[in-house]
Subunit: 276 residues, 2 copies
Amino acid sequence: MEIVSRWTAFGGEQLVCRHTSSATGTPMTLGVFVPPQALETPCPVLTYLSGLTCTHANVMEKGEYRQAAAELGIVVVCPDTSPRGEDVADDEAYDLGQGAGFYVDATEAPWAPHFRMRTYVEEELPALIRANFNVAADRQSIFGHSMGGHGALTVALRNPDRYRSVSAFAPIVAPSQVPWGVKAFSEYLGEDPAAWRRHDAVALIEDGARVPEILVDQGESDSFVITELRPELLVKACEDAGIALTLRMQQGYDHSYYFISTFMAEHIAWHAERLA
Amino acid sequence: MEIVSRWTAFGGEQLVCRHTSSATGTPMTLGVFVPPQALETPCPVLTYLSGLTCTHANVMEKGEYRQAAAELGIVVVCPDTSPRGEDVADDEAYDLGQGAGFYVDATEAPWAPHFRMRTYVEEELPALIRANFNVAADRQSIFGHSMGGHGALTVALRNPDRYRSVSAFAPIVAPSQVPWGVKAFSEYLGEDPAAWRRHDAVALIEDGARVPEILVDQGESDSFVITELRPELLVKACEDAGIALTLRMQQGYDHSYYFISTFMAEHIAWHAERLA
């Protein structure tokens, strides 16, 4: 793992790292914030999964997570949203291909060779962080935004023993039922919706996956809420399953990092309590 | 004044505004954060001047000022760093022309017609804000970064009756004595250094300008500190003049927004005390 950039911030270090991923077969870039506490003691890890069109850099520049992470001693890991490169399949649409990996392992052409973001996030990334940073291996949590909220929820629901907590900003809760997800899953996973259920938070819960609790913030003025995000489907699934969902509808807020940054510190504090 | 964009953030509103400037003769874009308190009561104004290459957007996206401004009820105004446009003079260098206005009124060709950032920031901008927002006209302060730190210091030193307080991140304290400033001032103000002194914080202090106190944060690992920023010249000038300068050399920090954002809340709190 190569450190590409390094900045002191809030008493810790914001790094940009690059490594060759065995999961995707490509170089992958990620942001890692190392709080000052990591100089002395193993720190818990909170992974943030970004949304469509984002790289590792969006949340690093606009997410305003460092102050809370430094105060609470949390390593914040911010991977990219897909493999990238000239030899990697892509599509001109913003919601498919590079920048739109949807945190699945693609089974279909032309995506299958590199679009393996599920394995990357679930398996390779935690191991990479453990091998390179002073972290407490048994204390990790995950959160994300929009497509990354979908990623966080599905990763946590599939691995409740490995993630202490999960939260999301404006997540795509049921990709199998909305245009973004139907388009991406058809391309990445094929036309049979049965293959999509392990990559859909609502379907996972319907099929028996459980986490004890979920925190979600959703902007009421988010233009994607009705068509793509559909928090009511998560409410229903959690009610039926007995999962303690805290869904906070935030008046006036949209889908942007102005929304995310506003509630970022509260999410980090919420995770920190569960990572203690 | 036109509102180009509007986002809810930290309970207030982050706006991007555009207006036709009488000072520069061009459209000018600025960021304005309106805290929730402004719905009910006139709020003080804190103007942030950005550095070389920046637009209004850099600090808006990376500066992390909204949380503190919302808590303390401060309107934060973030203008652009120069006039812009196809009909506006420019230079291919990053440190001259568009993006590098240096907060002076240019007297020389080809800059004089539009590069009037001193009048813009000192005169037009406060009037624009008073006319369009619920602000307390007698309570304004100013701060900035690098070239914008130079701007903030010189604006405040020339107008101590109009600004309650001034602070800076890594300011160019003596542009007349460093390459960035000599280049820009020669172009904008002509070759006679006598004309530069009203645009140079150290020279202004030497010539009798006074503010009661100044807060400066300077990264120790800032690659520009020795050649361009030279905080020791401000220390000397303030000592000789009896100005209470608090210069905090910050170990490990560079010239980036990772540095600025780390100390942003402290600067806003410092100004808020003086704006109360």
